[in-house]
Amino acid sequence: MVDCMNPRKAIPIEIADPFARKLVGQYLANRESDIGRLRDALQHHDFETIRLSGHNLSGSGSAYGLDEVSRIGARLEQAANDRDNAEICRLVADLADYLRNVDVQ
């Protein structure tokens, strides 16, 4: 069913090598589980967990061809350092949105 309020904007990522495609798929699945952990950490004001997650995201995303993940990760790390709840909330939503829309082909 199409959600007219939030139409899916597919972000195609083309990967020719089947093994690399599998690695990226695995990476994306692991990032999706990060979303729940980040929201939980935000609820508990666990900025250290958020900072480490952001740090890891910023250091890994582009290596998989997912520059947006690195960009969000770097900003998330900074937001955690600043203890900026609102910014963290926005960035986690951005990350969830990106992961929902990315389409590995």
Binding site: N30, L52, H55, N56, S58, G59, S60, A63
Partner: protein, 235 residues
């Protein structure tokens, strides 16, 4: 290595995805790769085994890559070339990593071709002697392009494998080389038919052929349950 023998890399990285990706890149570049998720398992491994290169993450669950590097250099006298690979990109972090003993510093996200090129450059610096392809380890002289070895100017007749083994030993003089490291480097990692006894037999033969003894100022020692070490005897 002059003939492109397999190089062995130990990666210290707690992020499983990052470790797997780096392993894939380096395996494709014909490295033999072992990954360790924390400082404890990495340090246990390097005490038991030997490697040609280390790639160390900075932020770890039980320590830091910097602390591991300091331990390697100062407590364990382990000067295996090491690269720090981290998302920390501030100047003071770079300085700290290099001052702790890293041979290079890579900021994540790492790029595949750059990683491979930098590791090759480090290894080249570790293996090349100024003046080209001659390694002088008196009274021996090793010519890597001609694959010849001389003792006091007299050529020693050797097979290709014996030459590779001798060059590997001299290039790593003073360092303990594990049997599995020697097997992977000289015989190739897929050669499961070669047993560690083959290493022992070749070492014994090489010791005699090269005259590694007090007279020539070099000693080849078997390290019980570990491997071998070639070292210069102080006169």
């Amino acid at each position: 290595m002059c003939t492109g023998a397999t190089l062995r890399v130990a990666i210290l990285e707690d992020d499983a995805d990052q470790a797997e990706l780096t392993r894939r890149w380096l395996t494709n570049a014909e490295y033999s790769v072992d990954c360790y998720p924390d400082a404890g398992s990495f340090l246990r491994a390097v005490r038991r085994e030997s490697f040609d290169l280390y790639v160390l993450d900075w932020v770890l669950p039980d320590s830091s890559g910097i602390e591991v590097l300091q331990k390697l250099r100062s407590e364990m006298a382990d000067y295996t070339p090491a690269v720090i690979a981290t998302a920390k990109n501030e100047e003071q972090s770079v300085v700290r990593g290099l001052e702790a003993g890293a041979d290079d510093y890579l900021v994540k996200p790492i790029r595949q071709a750059e990683l491979v090129a930098r590791l090759a450059a480090i290894h080249r610096r570790a293996g090349v002697v100024p003046g080209g392809n001659q390694l002088e380890v008196a009274p021996y002289a090793i010519n890597t392009s001609g694959k010849s070895l001389e003792l006091r100017g007299a050529a020693i007749s050797m097979t290709n494998r014996e030459f590779e083994l001798a060059y590997f030993l001299f290039r790593n003089a003073g360092k303990m080389l594990s049997r599995s490291h020697i097997l992977e480097t000289i015989w190739g990692i897929d050669n499961k038919s070669v047993s560690t006894r083959t290493v022992d037999t070749h070492m014994s033969r090489l010791r005699k052929k090269l005259g590694l003894s007090d007279e020539n100022g070099w000693k080849l020692s078997a390290i019980y349950q570990h491997g071998y070490r070639l070292e210069r005897i102080n006169s």
